[in-house]
Symmetry: C2
Subunit: 375 residues, 2 copies
Amino acid sequence: MNSTYLQMFSTVTEAGELRLELLEKPMPQPTSSQVLVRIEATPINPSDQGAMFGMADISAAETSGSGKGTLLTAPVSAGGLRVMKARMGQTLAVGNEGAGTVVATGDSDLAKSLAGKVVAAMGGAMYGQYRCVEAAACLPLQTGHTAKDGASCFVNPLSALCMIETMKLEGHTALVHTAAASNLGQMLVRICQSDGVQLVNIVRKADQVKLLQEMGAKYVVNSSSENFMAELTDAIHATGATLGFDATGGGLLASNILSCMEAAAARTPGAYSIYGSVKHKQVYIYGGLDTSATTLNRGYGMAWGVGGWLLPNFLARAGMDVAGRLRARVAKELKSSFASHYTNELSLVEALQADTVRQYYAKHTGEKFLICPQK
Amino acid sequence: MNSTYLQMFSTVTEAGELRLELLEKPMPQPTSSQVLVRIEATPINPSDQGAMFGMADISAAETSGSGKGTLLTAPVSAGGLRVMKARMGQTLAVGNEGAGTVVATGDSDLAKSLAGKVVAAMGGAMYGQYRCVEAAACLPLQTGHTAKDGASCFVNPLSALCMIETMKLEGHTALVHTAAASNLGQMLVRICQSDGVQLVNIVRKADQVKLLQEMGAKYVVNSSSENFMAELTDAIHATGATLGFDATGGGLLASNILSCMEAAAARTPGAYSIYGSVKHKQVYIYGGLDTSATTLNRGYGMAWGVGGWLLPNFLARAGMDVAGRLRARVAKELKSSFASHYTNELSLVEALQADTVRQYYAKHTGEKFLICPQK
């Protein structure tokens, strides 16, 4: 085995420059409870790109150098630097999840049991050729499943499953989801179907409506429709949804979902209350596809909430048993409910080319890129 | 006893008119578990004015008629009518809380035990000369305390106490409060002092800073200061506050509080996380002094929430035991921690005069009006 390996790091400098580059690191040795994974496939999720690119202006990104000397740079505005203050000057490892083959193990029984197996793992620093991880944190894939099959085992599948867990934990009975034609959105459609959970899908385009309807989704609302608010209210009334997950974050969408939940609640006969409906209505923002400010018009009484939602925080709250149950389900349904499709496969060097970066940075619905660090 | 009494009602008509008027109602008879209270003092809280005035344009309000035929009218815009749709055409009783003398009782032991006593009650329809209420919902005042002393027993005192209860229930250890020079804000200063809870007060004016400092408040920040964000961050860092209560609702204030909480958290040594600090940061909006939209810039990671907060909803969540404990404390500290001061005392007819309405509708900090329905 080599004595070094390449890994991707991101730095925001005090001079206002983002630097994304490959650094040569000494090959790590697994401790007793760890395994060394040769990373073979690791996806570029929207949630990875915050750490990769900070608040840099990617339209002005440039690539210099070649091979392991490849460097992507991009300017960061003064406003971006203020927000990025806590990370300034730090060289951050990037990449949340990935999969590959266990090529060395520690001497614990669990670690040794994974020797030679294909496993998936989440935990950061995955955009590299090798990664030491705790054996207990690995998800062994079923026989016949490849690293590419399992590369996106965690972020999207667990997020979709944890949306349903959040729904149950917080006493709701149906869901609203935005950017619903995304990779994650399609998983959510499939698992809501098999679990009998009513789901209202919000998309922006007619072809996305068609895509989800062809998958069997019952409630699909197009936010570009001029009757969007009325159609969303009808769907919310039909399903009883009082919980939404919003991937976009900015603008009026979260507020509009709450308005429609309130309008749907007002259709249920009962005394008028000046303080609005009593049932708590919640929208969690789990992404930032729209980086503009969130605007809440508050025309929905007093029993409402909007907040950030982050998978690791929710898993910590739900506890180990829930996490274990959900991981087992992902492994079992990896090529059905949780299948991912990739637009392109990139080497570590290709992932630093400015034109390629601009392509995946655009986060077009349904597009997803995979890094294959051994390529 | 008279066979009828006068009570204030509010209606928003389909034609776009707000009507606030007195109606003559038959004197109610208490059931077995009820008492009949002669209402002698009932405050006009900001939270009453939503039901009283809907979304009407009070600058254009007019009063016609006189005596019990007095009628206040004001135009409601098309936008206001959309928001008020659920109440349109309904004649709503107004006034959340009040106090007075029990003049008749049902035959239950509890009801009979209140005969002749001065009690406070919350439950709506208080802007009238009489009100039947459940004996169990009454708070008997201590000997020597008058109806005027007890008129504001519930909304402000219980809100202030329940802010501290919310803090404990949700795992926070200090508070931020806006519009902190208000009647409620001053109560909160007093009870935080006696309970040893650290409190960051946000006010808008230098004389309000002085007022709270003279009361002994340690952290008072002026949002009109050009160093507001830095000063607020310092105060939040010193107190460890991760929970705020905002009476204003509109604009950037809630978002700015979250930004300062995040900046304060970033001062604590620890690894940088691209997803922000892990401790949940929450701002509850409990009023709408600023009716403009709430703008959230989301520059504070993923562990944050903003939501509506309503006293009855919180009391329902906290349970009967907590409510009983808090009510007992209010009765005990009625003339110390929970003393209210009134700008003016109005008869029911005076409360319908357009110029007077504009005065209390302005909700100037520290101004509070009392209706004395027997006047």
